[in-house]
Amino acid sequence: MILITDSGTVGRVVYATAYHHGAVGTNNLIRVVVENEVLRGYVYQFLQSKLGQHQLKANIYGAIVDHIEPDDVKQIFVPIPKNKATLESIGLPALRSVELQEQAFIEQEISKIELAQCGGFPNEVDPDLPRKIHSLIEPLRPAEVSSVLALEFKAHVEKWRQETQHTSSMTKMIAHPSYRRIMGMGRDALPLIFHELKERPDHWLVALNAITGEDPVPADSKFNEAVEAWLAGGEEKGYLK
C-alpha cells in the first residue's frame, strides 16, 4: 500500500514494504490502497510527480502546522494511460525500485548483525532489529533457525524463482547462483527447504539430495510423487514440525 503524510511535512509518499510489517503507524498517515500491482506502482510514481504533489498540497490548512485530509486525497485526479505498455513502463520500474530498496535494507541489516556478532560495534545495531527481522521472516516460520540465514534463504528463493521459472532445464536451475548458495547453506537450511517445498512445491529435490546425501524417492517416481516422498522423510526427521 501507499502511505502519505498528512501533517507537518505534508505530501511525502512512501511505499509500505515488508520492513513496515507489524509496525504501528501514527494518525498522520493516509493509506492509499490500489489492488493491481502495476497500477499501484504507477500511482506511487504519479503522487511523487509535480502534478501529484501540487494536487496533494492544494488544500493545505493550519495556521502553524500544515494539514491535509483524506477527502483531499480522494479528490486527486490521476490520469491513467489507456495504453497498457505505457502504464507498465511507468509502474514496473517504480515497483522494481521499491523491491531494490527493500533488498538494500535487508543486506544492510544482515551486514550490521554480522558486524555485531564479530564483536564489532553492537551499539550500532538497532535495538528494534529483532522485531523488524521477525516481521520479515515471519511468513517463513521457523524460529529454530537463525534469523540471518532465514532472511538470506528467502531472498535467494525469490531471486531463483523469478530468474529461472521459465526455463525447462534443471541444469540451468541448479546452476543459478541462488540455488547454489542455498545448497551451500548445508544442513542448517534443511528446515527452510522442507518448509518451502511443502508450501510451494518446486524443484528442491536436487538441493535436498546434495545436502543430505540421501534419496528417499522410490524408483520411477514422478515429480509430485518424489516431492511427497521427500516431505514424508522431512516430517519423520523433524524438519517439518
Binding site: 493491481n36 497500477l39 490520469p79 521459465h166 524408483a219 517416481s221 514422478k222
Partner: protein, 170 residues
C-alpha cells in the same frame, strides 16, 4: 481517488497477462497471447509437447525426473530432436500450418536447446513456459534473448486423421 482513462478496462486486461513472463519473453509484449493453465512445476515444455503432463522431462541423476531411455543428450539439439523422432516426428523446413500434420518447433540459444512449442490446428502454437503457465502464442513471440531462435521444425502425420491433442484440452 478519481481515475480517468478506463481504469476498470485496464485492470481486466492485466489479469490476462503474465508480466514476469513478458519480462523474459519481450515478444509477448507486442504479440497477443493467451494463458491456458495455471503455473505448475511438475511438467516442462518437452513433456507438454509430447503430451505428458505428469512428469518433468530432464536427464538428471535424481529421482523424480524422466528422460526416455535411448534418447540423446538433454544438452544438445540432436538430443531433443531424438525425443520427437521417437514419437514419429521428422524434420521439415515448413513452419506454416499443414492441416494433416502435427508440428513442433525447437528454440535454441547459444547455450543449447531452450524450449519447444507445439502447433495447434488453428495454426497458433502452444507452450509450457518452464515451471510457469501454458500459453497459446505466435511462434516468433518467444524468439529473443531468453529462448533464442527457432532452429528446428518437426512434423508427423496426424494419426487416423486426428491430432494427438484435442483442441478443447490443453
Amino acid at each position: 481517488m478519481v481515475g480517468g482513462g478506463g481504469r476498470e478496462r485496464v485492470l481486466e486486461v492485466m489479469d490476462e497477462r503474465d508480466l514476469e513472463l513478458e519480462q523474459d519473453c519481450h515478444g509477448l509484449r507486442n504479440l497477443s497471447y493467451k494463458i491456458t493453465s495455471p503455473r505448475d512445476p511438475q511438467y516442462n515444455c518437452i513433456a507438454y509437447a509430447v503430451g505428458d503432463l505428469s512428469q518433468f522431462w530432464d536427464h538428471i541423476n535424481v529421482k523424480g525426473y524422466y528422460w526416455p531411455p535411448g534418447a540423446g543428450s538433454v544438452e544438445t539439439l540432436a538430443g531433443w530432436m531424438s525425443i520427437f523422432e521417437m514419437h514419429g516426428y521428422t524434420e521439415t523446413t515448413e513452419r506454416t500450418l499443414e492441416i494433416e500434420y502435427e508440428k513442433i518447433a525447437i528454440y535454441e540459444s547459444a547455450d543449447g536447446p531452450e524450449h519447444v512449442a507445439r502447433q495447434k490446428a488453428s495454426g497458433l502454437w502452444t507452450s509450457k513456459m518452464g515451471r510457469g503457465v501454458d500459453i497459446e502464442h505466435a511462434l516468433e513471440a518467444l524468439e529473443g534473448d531468453f529462448y533464442g531462435k527457432v532452429v528446428a521444425i518437426m512434423k508427423r502425420k496426424c494419426q487416423g486423421g486426428k491430432r494427438y491433442w484435442s483442441e478443447g484440452g490443453k
